[in-house]
């Protein structure tokens, strides 16, 4: 059988499996099999691509043995390292790990372009130009993702911003593009020019990412995910591989959509996230809030929930910081055993990545049908006896509904304040991600349970157990 035919057929199968796999990911019922389906796609296409050995160019023929050996080594090392690191990474470090893997994909796309550029017979000009665009995007995605990884992983702590940084970035980008144009018009790209081009592209990725605050990073990671997709799609065109084009474009569309969803739920624009330092400016006067926060004892709060009919729990970033999801579910199970109806209300941008809280709760074993989205549950707060806010702040700030001067005005929020009684667990007077004061904490029906989320939940559990023993 014709090896080319087998390669084409497996490529086609891979494209089909990707789409079917992604389709399955649109429901928690089928999502687990979705990734397996897509996985088969990459597996068969990778194995089949070794058949390319039967059709290599005459120049590559003498090196075929070496190249095959190099291919196997690269695959084994790459897969081995990624498998090991992926199995080991804790759930909380997921965002940076996704950034890292994503950057690698961008780098691979850039390498494809680099091989194309270093080939002794350069492709026609238009193809060269297209390869260079892919290389620029891929390389920037590589270095940008690595920077994001380093920031999220705490390896770079300082936020780097200098005056005129935007202009410096613009100049680097312009210079890189200029080198690219020189390569295309020159015909045969010299190694020096090629190197300069890639260095420029890599530098731009770093420079663009460094000034962005750590908390904004997830938006950036999602954006780079789209970038890598587009770079892969472009190199797929250069190599005449439709499966790369389709996978790249689909991921490009997916990443763009997710980035927009995230930005919208944060009530900001994508360019605002990338080009302006959030929080730096928003330390303005703010509205004077009347009243005082009322502290409550952990045991009193626990007992009042024990005798409530319905409790809605709103987890936020603080839950992730305290790693208190396991204790939380333990507490919830005790409430359920006592006959209390418990639901989780999950805001789309609670935490620091989209769907962050869902993954966290799922990790602790919370079944997904207990997690409710904003639209689903917002009307139910008025029928809840208690709303328990754990380490969340911005996502329950009523100023988003009422205060036109607030930076979060217009952001959809969870109506915790509509519940009969609200308890808030947080360590102190710390502000949320947006840096604004929260009126809810001063409301008549709200009481504060101060402390680290994990510590408070341990007290809650102890209080319920004591009650059970006493009864």
């Amino acid at each position: 059988m014709n090896p080319k035919l087998i390669i084409d057929a497996t490529d086609f199968a891979a494209a089909l499996l990707f789409i079917l796999g992604l389709k399955r990911m649109s429901s928690p019922l089928t999502a687990r099999s979705g990734i397996v389906v897509a996985g088969w796609g990459v597996l068969v296409a990778t194995l089949a691509s070794f058949l390319e050995a039967f059709g290599v160019t005459a120049d590559a023929q003498p090196h075929l043995g070496t190249n095959l050996a190099l291919g196997v080594i690269a695959l084994v090392v790459g897969v081995g390292w990624a498998w090991w690191s992926g199995k080991r990474v804790p759930m909380t470090a997921m965002p940076q790990m996704v950034a890292l893997y994503n950057g690698m994909g961008g780098g691979a796309a850039a390498c494809i372009a680099a091989v194309e550029l270093s080939s002794p017979l350069p492709s026609p000009g238009s193809k060269l130009a297209i390869a260079l665009v892919g290389a620029l995007i891929g390389a920037a995605s590589l270095s940008g993702s690595l920077t994001a990884w380093a920031k999220l992983d705490g390896r770079i702590n300082r936020a780097f911003h200098a005056k005129g940084q935007q202009y410096a970035n613009g100049i680097v980008l312009a210079a890189t593009i200029f080198v690219g144009i020189d390569i295309i018009s020159g015909g045969a790209p010299t190694p020096a020019l090629t190197a300069a081009f890639f260095i420029g592209a890599l530098a731009y990725g770093v420079l663009m990412t460094l000034p962005i605050g750590g908390a904004d990073m997830p938006v950036v990671v999602s954006l780079y995910n789209a970038f890598t997709g587009i770079a892969v799609g472009i190199e797929g065109y250069v190599l005449q591989k439709p499966v790369l084009v389709i996978a790249g474009v689909v991921v490009g569309a997916a990443g763009t959509l997710l980035t927009l969803v995230m930005a919208r739920a944060m009530n900001r624009s994508v360019s605002n996230v990338i080009f302006s330092r959030f929080g730096a400016a928003s330390s303005g006067p703010g509205r004077e809030i009347a009243g005082a926060m009322k502290p409550a004892e952990a045991s009193d709060a626990a007992v009042s929930m024990r005798y409530a009919g319905k409790v809605i729990i709103i987890p936020g970033y603080g839950l992730a910081v305290a790693q208190a999801q396991y204790k939380l579910y333990e507490f919830v199970k005790l409430l359920q055993a006592a006959g209390v109806e418990v639901k989780f209300a999950v805001h789309p941008v609670a935490g620091r990545m989209p769907g962050h809280m869902d993954v966290l709760l799922a990790e602790a074993g919370v079944p997904y049908d207990m997690m409710h989205e904003l639209d689903e549950i917002n009307e139910e707060f008025s029928t809840a006896d208690v709303a328990l806010v754990i380490g969340a702040n911005d996502v329950v700030n009523p100023a988003a509904r009422t205060d036109k001067t607030s930076p979060i005005y217009g952001m959809p929020i969870l109506n915790a304040d509509h519940a009969h009684q609200v308890y808030v667990i947080k360590r102190g007077q710390g502000k949320g991600y947006s840096g604004v004061e929260n009126e809810l904490f001063f409301a008549d029906n709200c009481a504060m349970v101060y402390g680290d989320a994990q510590a408070v939940l341990v007290k809650f559990i102890a209080a319920l157990k004591e009650l059970g023993a006493a009864a």
Binding site: I35, A74, L75, K87, G105, V221, N225, V250, A254, L374
Partner: protein, 101 residues
């Protein structure tokens, strides 16, 4: 006839792939957004196939080095994306007792 992916044919494929991506992704509920992000990250790991092609056709040491790096990176993208997505998705479970919904 040669199967070439050029001009309008390539545009058609890009357009249809973009619509397919947008339509499928916009149905994913917020609850699955983190796994979706890493799952789509996995999907562009297919770039490893292109990198392998480049490596096998490498004719100079430079090309071999670049190709090797490309395959290494691509393989890391694919395998890493797969493992973390699978781990996350495996945590999503329905209620054991459907009545407690």
């Amino acid at each position: 006839m040669e199967q070439t992916l050029v001009g309008f044919i390539a545009l058609y494929i890009v357009m249809l792939a973009a619509f397919t991506g947008i339509e499928i992704i916009s149905r994913v509920p917020a609850i699955l957004h983190t796994p979706l992000m890493s799952g789509s990250n996995f999907v562009h790991g297919i770039v490893v196939v292109g990198a392998l092609y480049a490596l096998l056709n490498a004719a100079t040491p430079t090309q071999q080095v670049i190709g090797f790096i490309g395959v290494l990176l691509g393989a890391g993208n694919a395998a890493g994306g797969y493992v973390v997505t699978k781990r996350m998705l495996e945590m999503f479970k329905p209620s054991a007792n459907p009545a407690s919904k």
